[in-house]
């Protein structure tokens, strides 16, 4: 089978984001999605630190410390973008105005529970940022992660063992092996990488999967 690399997963996520969608890309891996949105498709990127219409990275030397994204990386602003304060920014998130947010994860449970902020290790310094707001606020919560941990365990689990970010909040999971919808009827496989059979995916994942009908990505309300 052909595992997808990070950019391939990002491209797969990007495919499902329709024109006109308001999208928040979590820090880390999800940020890559921006690079894969097809040219000419207008998608509006929101960053929780108070900006809508985030553009590409600035040219070297053109960075401005006052124009950054949630990961504190320098960005640019598209024509038509706007700035607002933090309470207004999270009103957009919590008030269900974002069509999609894409988050990384440690674990996703079969009921859509998400764990992505804390390993639970007693000596770890916890940091949550905007993850819990995004998890409950976006109309569609997409998770983007490796299917397996480094030691080969499934990150899709019966029940999260790490502390939760949000309960029953994930709609769809994108991994290096498959795209899987979280539905009231359980996990439904949307598609798999070339050369991977359903039984093999089921074996690697551990929790029950069903073959889903191909789904269509986020619809705009």
């Amino acid at each position: 089978m052909k595992r997808m690399d990070r950019n391939q997963i990002a491209a797969r996520v990007a495919r499902d984001i329709p024109e006109g969608a308001y999208v928040n890309l979590g820090i880390g891996l999800p940020t890559l999605v921006a690079d894969h949105i097809p040219k000419g498709r207008e998608v509006l990127l929101h960053s929780e630190n108070g900006v809508l219409g985030v553009g590409p990275k600035p040219a070297p030397g053109a960075e401005d410390g006052d124009l950054v994204n949630a990961g504190k990386e320098p960005v640019t602003l598209l024509a038509g973008g706007s700035f607002f304060h933090h309470a207004d920014s999270f009103a957009m998130i919590r008030g269900r105005h974002l069509d999609v947010c894409v988050l990384g994860a440690f674990q996703v449970a079969i009921n859509g529970d998400l764990a992505n902020w804390h390993t639970g290790a007693p000596d770890a310094i916890p940091a949550v940022g905007g993850a819990m707001d995004l998890a409950v606020g976006a109309k569609n919560v997409y998770v983007m992660m490796e299917h397996l941990t480094k030691s080969g365990e499934s990150k899709i689990v019966e029940r999260c063992t790490y502390p939760l970010t949000g309960a029953s909040c994930v709609n769809r999971i994108y991994t290096d092996l498959a795209v899987i919808d979280v539905t009231p009827d359980g996990l439904q496989v949307v598609d798999m990488v070339e050369g991977l059979g359903f039984e093999e995916l089921q074996r690697l994942t551990g929790v029950p999967l069903t073959r889903g009908k191909a789904a269509h990505g986020a619809a705009l309300a």
Binding site: A91, M92, L98
Partner: protein, 223 residues
């Protein structure tokens, strides 16, 4: 290409169904989306619940909508005015239900709907008739009343300038309820004096980011 600018007022309000809840911008005449109101009267949707600070003035805008008997219920802070005769008549005839809400609580309930807040404690109206039957709580040294958000199907607002992404600016005190109403409806429709190209609105001075707006319709300066 995203294009929220619609060609006509008729098209802008075409899908408003009977029984809808509609937030209507404006404080008296300032910010009242009169052109959209006229289109809504022509469109004919009935049994509406409308939310506005007032209950219409004179014979235009919200007053005309009430006069056309399209309104079942009004949620507002200040219905009674010298020129609110359409409201007065319908209310006294028992044709119109009134929910009276203190102005700041009205604004905050609308803002809460847009911001995903489930309910909030406000000190306003504690100990008064308008808090009767409502949950109260003492927090610190102040008494509060629990209030819930006002969500709506539509918001009809008047802005000054708008672009194809739905970004809006307003003009002076015509801003009033526009920005918060835009955030609290499933479908926000803004009439604007002028439409501009993307990028012509200063990103530091956009008051309503386009995320809150579904349709923009140009009316020119007169409406």
């Amino acid at each position: 290409m995203i294009n929220k600018i619609v060609a006509s007022l008729e098209e802008a309000v075409a899908d408003i169904a009977d029984g809808s809840t509609i937030l209507i911008g404006g404080f008296g005449g300032a910010g009242m989306p009169s052109a959209l109101m006229s289109a809504l009267i022509a469109q004919g949707a009935r049994e509406l619940t409308v939310v506005n600070n007032n209950a219409g003035n004179g014979d235009t805008g919200l007053a005309a909508l009430i006069g056309a008997k399209q309104v079942r219920k009004i949620i507002c802070s200040f219905p009674r005015q010298a020129d609110s005769w359409h409201f007065d008549k319908a209310y006294r005839a028992g044709e119109l239900e009134l929910e009276l809400v203190p102005q700041g609580t009205l604004a905050e309930r609308i803002r809460a709907a847009g911001a995903g807040i489930g309910a909030f404690f406000t000190p306003t109206a504690y100990g008064t008739r308008l808090a009767e039957g409502k949950e109260t709580r003492r927090i610190g040294d102040r008494d509060y009343v629990l209030e819930h958000p006002i969500h709506a199907d539509y918001a009809l607002i008047k802005a000054d300038r708008g672009d194809r992404w739905g970004n809006l600016t307003y003009r002076m005190t015509a801003r009033n309820f526009g920005p918060i109403m835009a955030s609290a409806a499933n479908c926000t429709i803004a009439q604007v004096r002028e439409t501009v190209e993307l990028g012509q609105l200063d990103p530091e001075a956009v008051v309503t980011p386009g995320i809150f707006v579904k349709r923009v319709v140009k009316t020119g300066a007169t409406a």
